[in-house]
Symmetry: C2
Subunit: 90 residues, 2 copies
């Protein structure tokens, strides 16, 4: 009725199990990220792509990068945004 032993650190082959584990662990990871930001006054940015390509994201403030399907990054200022993209491109 619970886990039988230590968790093996390798890709889960079963597709269904992998998706379920992904949902659960993703939730746990985002919770931890949030807690770190709050408890320790840190800035945190977390981006996760599911195997299916769906994006999940968290940022502790507007000064951390967020991915947006349309704009690539959500930045405080458009000018900064352009500059950042230019730098990245080279």
């Amino acid at each position: 009725m619970a886990r039988r032993g230590r968790v093996e650190l390798r890709r889960i082959e079963d597709r269904t199990s992998r998706q379920v584990r992904f949902s659960k662990r993703r939730a746990g990871l985002f919770k931890k990220a949030f807690e770190l930001a709050v408890l320790c006054d840190a800035e945190v940015s977390l981006l996760v792509f599911s195997p299916a390509g769906r994006l999940y994201e968290y940022a502790s403030s507007r000064c951390m990068p967020l991915a947006d399907p349309r704009t690539l990054f959500c930045l405080p200022a458009p000018s900064t945004y352009s500059l950042l993209l230019c730098n990245f491109a080279q």
Copy 2:
């Protein structure tokens, strides 16, 4: 000799405690991020700024898309990314 109760979810006022907690939880968070990537075949990007402004980062691959999967905007190198983020965060 161990925790005395439930952890309160708010900023830790004591500077020393906050730094110790930050180190421990940061390590835990990065481990979880790594595990999610390996176990569930996901792409993960994690950025953390300490209160002192120091950056810690993880990406499940050097080509972790930080944006639209269609554009597949890849990072040239972690160092470049760090530099850009520092500029942008201030």
